[in-house]
Symmetry: C2
Subunit: 205 residues, 2 copies
DNA sequence: AAGAACGCATGACAACTGTCACGGGCGAGT
DNA sequence: ACTCGCCCGTGACAGTTGTCATGCGTTCTT
């Protein structure tokens, strides 16, 4: 399996980072970047065209986020292994990424020298997970929020009032307040803003 | 001035991005990365030790942010030119960076091929500014917030209540409410949360 | 010296927010 | 069939928040 270079697909919305990662990985003789895309919904088409062995995906991307892209990729091109490379080590991201079929999860403040190794391990069929993040993920656990609570909190992220949220989701104001109150309780917050912050910080939104 | 490679200092808190940028710029024969640091307060010491020609600084960094690092660097090692390379194109960042003495300002979603050119231009004494961002900066203008309003809004970022903010800043609750109300008015928000978002989005915090 | 802008504070009012108790409907699992 | 959890809603209550008028002291500019 090793007389041919490992073919890589890079997906990151920041062109500079994408290009830089490409340069970094291109330095390794056994790695070859065959495609670069800047949006989640370009991942599958690019994979179909260039047949990469490993896809490095960011989570935060326009169009389709990296988690959804992972799922889509696994569904349509199962041979491709996915390594998530992201800025934010939110526990929920890790969990959801693995559930979506990712083989690895690396945060962007790991040393540059380790990235190539992570790629090789993923290509070899191993799983690569940041150890510190893995324990965080166990502690934080799955999102305790129900679908509606999540939706309401998402709508509250931009500082909307209860009335605005209710209008957007076609709910009564009282219902919105109930969902918010419940979400506040579950997140251990005292506040809507706090609840949004902790839920977001855990990758629950 | 051009028979010697341009010496670069890289500062970014994400090791992976730092290393990747280093690889990218290292591909250019006339550029040489002589130092890499991961925190703002390491910029000046590293510059004193390695005598770079150009420093590439991120804005978001632990210890000391890129803007403060720019000012410190210009003060202690005036020969070094500064190119800010950042994720967020907040108008206020641009303005403050230039006022702090930066020679250039590049967002991380500019094409990778342009970065080396930007470095060369900055080294040649030119100013490099993202055009779209420059106009935004003119529109958004300087922060309309007073020192106290800014401080109060910063304290409100984590969803603190009025009482908590008042306690933290040793103010009466009424005063905090007044400052908040004024900040809300100036930002065109209807809300504390909204005010925080727009102020933050403009780089006023 | 006067005015303007800022910071701090108080008190009062309306609006919004968070909580609670309660009820009904729906689907999943026992 | 029954329970459980989730969703939706109402109404009421206390607490918080945003606004406004007003006052005083300080600093900076004209």
């Amino acid at each position: 399996m090793s007389d041919r270079a490992i073919r890589l697909l890079l997906a990151d919305d920041q062109a500079l980072v994408r290009g830089a990662l490409s340069a970094l990985l291109g330095l390794e003789p056994d790695l070859e970047v065959v495609a670069e895309v800047g949006a989640g919904d370009q991942v599958v088409p690019a994979a179909l065209e260039h047949h990469p062995d490993v896809a490095l995906l960011d989570v935060e991307m326009p169009g389709m986020d990296g988690i959804a892209a992972t799922a889509a990729l696994r569904a349509s091109v199962p041979d491709v292994r996915v390594l998530i490379v992201t800025t934010f080590g939110r526990p929920g991201y890790l969990r959801r990424a693995m559930q979506a079929g990712a083989s690895g999860f690396v945060v962007k403040d790991t040393p540059a020298a380790q990235l190539a190794d992570a790629v090789r391990r993923v290509h070899a069929g191993l799983r690569v997970v940041d150890p510190a993040l893995a324990t965080d993920s166990l502690v934080a656990g799955e999102s305790p929020l129900t679908a509606r609570e999540t939706e309401v909190l998402q709508a509250a992220r931009d500082g909307s009032s209860v009335a605005a949220i209710a209008a957007k989701l076609f709910l009564s104001e009282g219902t919105v307040r109930n969902h918010l109150s419940s979400a506040i309780g579950k997140t251990g917050a005292t506040n809507r803003a706090e609840a949004v912050l902790t839920a977001d910080g855990n990758g629950w939104l």
